[in-house]
Structure formats: structure tokens, C-alpha cells
Symmetry: C2
Subunit: 336 residues, 2 copies
DNA sequence: CTGAAAGCGCTTACAG
DNA sequence: CTGAAAGCGCTTACAG
């Protein structure tokens, strides 16, 4: 294959153990021996075989990041931070796309048992809390960004209810009264949709305002555009819409503008995720910005704690920060 | 660790070799033995230890996909297809972000020598053809989406010169005359910028039109917005702009609209990449759509051929398909 | 401070 | 058709 410890040991005239000691930076190696070994190491350009090390150590040095779809900007941006945070632990990150399907979410979890990855950071859509809680393997698992109740595993997310309430209050504060929620979902067991809907409903109820709810299957632009068309066709069209993510909002924006209406004059629009697209759309998009770097870092830290065996206790529940970012789609335009 | 072949063999009352034969689906196992083994297999819920198999086979079953940044939509969309194509080979894909830096591009290549991955699909920015050609390790490597001359490795990309010419011809055909190119780069050794610039220049020269060139450092929205502001401030503002990718175009669009000008009436705009954002912007964005699924599949196929040892010959150069997609940013709006 | 040896779990000639 | 055994390259008690 390549150069092995044995080759280096032979050349340096020492044992394999000694070479291993030097490679792994252990103390108690005499300077003379160390120098000899290091000369041989560089002469042969030795690189440890990670497969062998992993077999011996029972680790792969690889973690899986499982998310519905990599090409949704929110997940792509989040992945970037997860990969960076993992790199600091010298972990490689394998990306697995579940499409939100139960079968594939289960498959990802099995990857740990196949010794392909040491642990999994999962952004769950379909898998239920009971199933996760019933898992017998002790695979390191961190749930990211969705809310599964009863903590079957470590979990990090923003407070979705509060964030949704903040957005809705912002729209109400602008004087809007016919405020629709776009993005409710029927099929989501563990998703955020019910939480965001709850936050919206809380705020609307607190002000005695009627609720209008538009459902979608998936959080993509096309669905936002279609749902918005349905809202506009209704007898009482909304004067503001809180979309449950930015992609839905950008799709909705397209529909509104293409219909010859103005944003925000006719319809104010807010999203959630703070993807880059919304910072350059016209008008720019008001949104909730989760601290993605923080989310990623916490997820990696939680996983590391489990893998180190430092945390053997009950699942931990961590909240990440977010902030409301008001832009033109609700506040109106400023000519540049 | 877990259940090993030995455990299964003990329970089934056969040798390890026989269990291995069954697990790997080899022929010539008597039905009776096979049944016995399979019973033991499922009783113990055996899962092969991939680390051990990999050590033995000298393979990891993992490939690296190295690209500048995952959160650029083009790369996120491409990654999705690469992961899917790799999954069909039962490969896992580790994503590495180079930020276009030479150091990190080199690091990725070293990953093969560390036996962390079997091969690499690299979207190069900084690394030069000479350096790649000078590599002594025989790591499987496929170059994706950029043009490096003299084929130091297998390579797949669209014909960037021709695509750029097509876009420019389209703008000329619309009657535009002051057509600027936005996205030229100074620092790119291996990048596509010179190729796209060449295509633009060819078309402009063919029609005797003057060339205007705006440079950027990186292909992001912010840079497109800033470069467009510079173009608008010039004495002869352009009536059309060919941006070297869609992100630049979307940034430029923001600047034009924020300045109170119209797209395409005042300035027509075209990009390249066909990212989803451009299909929902207002106006929608004219662009070149590379066949991303095809690019990904070819890249994976090229890598597989190298790893199988089927292809030991000289590097292969493959062209992927693309098409010009005319939308509102050049053709004008249709009210919905 | 250093060495000889076992063993992680798998695959694969080599016998029979 | 099946088995006993070697070996992939590493780490780690166990001696000395």
C-alpha cells in the first residue's frame, strides 16, 4: 500500500512502538531516538493509515450531517458552519440528504452501526420522538434545528415559537391587520411548522386579530409562490404575510410583484432563516436570523461531549440565539 | 465493539470464511449452510465493520468533494447531484471547503494519501496545472467545472467560451450595443473567468462593438452589486450586462433596481449557472443552465473508472451540456 | 525509555 | 463446498 510504521521502524532501527510514540507525540522518548525516528519519518514521507488506526481505536474520525436537502440555502449555509466547526476537531463531515423521508433518516442512523461514522447530526423531518427514544444502539446523535419533544437526544435550535411571535408582533406594530401565516404543514411530525404557527397564533390572538393560514407541502420557492396566489385570490386578501421560511417568502414575493402589486405597500412580507438571497432581493426581505454559526458550533460540541464519553447523562436541550432583521419588505424602501 | 464475523461463525457452527462468503454474496455456498448462517446473522443483527473491511481492501468507501464554498447556490446544487450519484456507487461524500485557497486545495489532495478518502472531485481555483501534473502520488482525481489546460487530470466542464459567446450574441440580438462583461478576474490561475471573458470578447469583436469589462475578486452578490454601481457611475452606462455567474447578476440587479432603473428596459441582465434564485427574482434572470446532474454523474463516473483501474490511460476531457435560458431580465416581463 | 507481541475485524490465497 | 491461517497497519497493555 504505502509506507507503514514497520518500514519506518526498520529504517530507524527501532521498534514499531517507538515510532508510534513519536508519531503520536507521546512524552518519554529520548531526544536521540526521537531525532532518529523523525529523520526516517520524513525520509520515507510517512503518512499514517487512518483505516488501520480507526479499526484499532473503534473510531472513524468522520461524522455525518444529515439534512433534508443540501440545495436549500439555509441548509447549505448551515453546513458550511458545521464543516468548519468539525474541522477544528479534525473531523471530516459526510453529508447525507434525507429528502425528509423516514426511510432515509433511519438509514443515516444505521450508518453509525456500520462503523462508517462516529456520530450523526440530524435535521429531522419525519422521524418521531418515540422511535428515537426507542433506539437501542448508543450512537452519538445530535438533533439540529427542529423541535422534537421529550428529548430523545441532544438537541439545539432557536426558540421557534418566540421567533414567530416576534415577527407577527412586528407586522401588527406596522398597522397590518389581515396577516396571514404561510407555511403550515399537515404531515410534519417533528417539524417546526406547528411551533411557528403557534407563535403566530399567540400574537394574533393577543391582539384579537383573525387568523388566515396557508399550508404547503415543502419549504421551497415554488410552493410559496403557489400558496401566495391562493391567498391573493381569496375575497379578503391579506395586507401582510408571515412566511415560515425565506424561500417561501421569496416565492410569495415573486407572485405579488408579478401580479402588479407592491411590497410592502400592498402586502408586507416577512420570512425566517436569513438566507443571503433575501439580502439582495428587491425589496430586501425582513426575516428572523438564527445564529447559524452558533447553532453549528453547539451541535458539534454536543456531539463531541457524547463521543468523549464526557456526557453520559440525559439529553441536553440548548437554545441558540436569533434576531429580527427588519428590511424593505416590511419597512419600505429607501432609494439608493 | 459489536458483533463480529467470528461471533456469527460460532453461533452458526461454521468458519469465519463461510460467513464472509454469505455476507458478500459469493456463490458456491450450500443452501443448508447458507440458511444456517443467515439465521445467525439476523439473530445477532450482524453489521460488518467497514473500518476493518477498508483496512483489508485498502479502500475507505469515501470520496471527497472539494469546492470553494458550499453556501454558493451553484455549488450546493451541484453537491446534491454529486452526493446522489456517489450514493449509487455506495460511496459516502465528504465535503471540503477550500475557499479557493491554494493551501486548502493541496490539503484536500493529501487526504488521499492519509487513506481518509479513496479519491477526490475537486473544483479548483488556485492550484495550477503544473503542480497537478507534477504530483507523484497516484491519487484518483477528477477536476470539475473549471478549465485547467494540458489535462493534468480527468476533467469535466461545459464549454465556457461558447456559452459566454452565446449569451453575448443573445444580448446583441436584442439590439443592445453598450454591453459590459462583469466578472473578470485578475488572480485566477485556472478559473473560468478568462474563458468567459474570451467568449464575450469574441462575440463583441465579431460585431465591431466596444468592450467594457468590470472586475471582481469573488463571485458573490455583494461584489456584483458593487461592480454594477461602478458601471452605472461611468459616463457611458451600459444598456446590457453579461455577468459571469448568477450571483453577480442578482447583486447587479439589486443595484440597478435600487437606483430606480428598470430591468431590462434600461439595462438588460444575463448570468450563468441557473441557480434557483434567478427563477424567482423579479424580473426572472436570463442565464446559461449547465446540466448539473450530468456534470455530477460524469465526475463520479470518471472517478470510478480510475478507482476500478479500468482507466489507466491519459487524462480524459469531457464536455457537459448547457443551454441558454431566456427570461424576463433580457426578454422583458409578462404580467401574470 | 524501549521492545515483542497480541489483537481490532475483515478478506483471501491455499488446502482439502 | 468449507476451513485454518495469514496479514492489512495500527495501538496498547505488559515486560524489562
Amino acid at each position: 500500500m504505502g509506507v507503514s510504521l514497520r518500514d519506518v521502524a526498520l529504517l530507524a532501527g527501532v521498534s514499531v512502538k517507538t515510532v508510534s510514540n513519536v508519531v503520536n507525540g507521546y512524552a518519554h522518548v529520548s531526544p536521540a531516538t526521537r531525532a532518529k525516528v523523525e529523520r526516517a519519518l520524513s525520509q520515507l514521507d510517512y503518512r499514517p493509515n487512518l483505516s488501520a488506526r480507526n479499526l484499532r481505536l473503534g473510531r472513524t474520525g468522520v461524522i455525518a450531517l444529515a439534512l433534508p436537502e443540501l440545495d436549500a440555502p439555509y441548509f447549505a449555509e448551515l453546513s458550511r458552519f458545521v464543516i468548519d466547526a468539525a474541522a477544528e476537531q479534525r473531523w471530516l463531515v459526510v453529508i447525507e440528504q434525507t429528502d425528509g423521508s423516514l426511510r432515509r433518516e433511519r438509514q443515516v442512523l444505521d450508518g453509525v452501526r456500520d462503523h462508517r461514522v462516529d456520530g450523526v447530526i440530524l435535521s429531522p423531518v419525519s422521524i418521531g420522538a418515540e422511535e428515537l427514544a426507542a433506539r437501542t444502539d448508543d450512537a452519538a446523535l445530535v438533533l439540529l434545528g427542529e423541535r422534537i419533544y421529550d428529548g430523545p437526544a441532544d438537541h439545539v435550535a432557536i426558540d421557534n415559537v418566540r421567533a414567530a411571535r416576534d415577527v407577527t408582533e412586528h407586522l401588527i406594530g406596522l398597522g397590518r391587520r389581515r396577516i396571514a401565516a404561510l407555511g403550515a404543514q399537515d404531515n410534519s411530525i417533528s417539524g417546526t411548522a406547528p411551533l411557528r404557527l403557534a407563535g403566530y397564533a399567540e400574537a394574533m390572538a393577543a391582539h384579537g386579530l383573525p387568523q388566515t393560514i396557508a399550508e404547503v407541502e415543502r419549504y421551497r420557492r415554488a410552493e410559496g409562490a403557489a400558496a401566495m396566489a391562493r391567498l391573493l385570490a381569496a375575497p379578503e386578501a391579506p395586507d401582510a404575510v408571515f412566511c415560515f421560511n425565506d424561500l417561501l417568502a421569496l416565492g410569495a414575493m415573486r407572485t405579488i410583484l408579478a401580479a402588479g402589486l407592491r411590497v410592502p405597500e400592498d402586502v408586507a412580507l416577512a420570512g425566517l432563516d436569513d438566507i443571503e438571497d433575501g439580502r439582495y432581493s428587491t425589496p430586501t426581505l425582513t426575516t428572523v436570523a438564527p445564529d447559524k454559526a452558533q447553532l453549528a458550533r453547539i451541535a458539534v460540541d454536543l456531539l463531541r461531549a457524547r463521543l468523549d464519553g464526557r456526557a453520559a447523562g440525559p439529553p441536553r436541550e440548548v437554545r441558540a440565539d436569533y434576531r429580527l432583521v427588519v428590511r424593505e419588505s416590511t419597512a419600505g424602501r429607501v432609494r439608493g
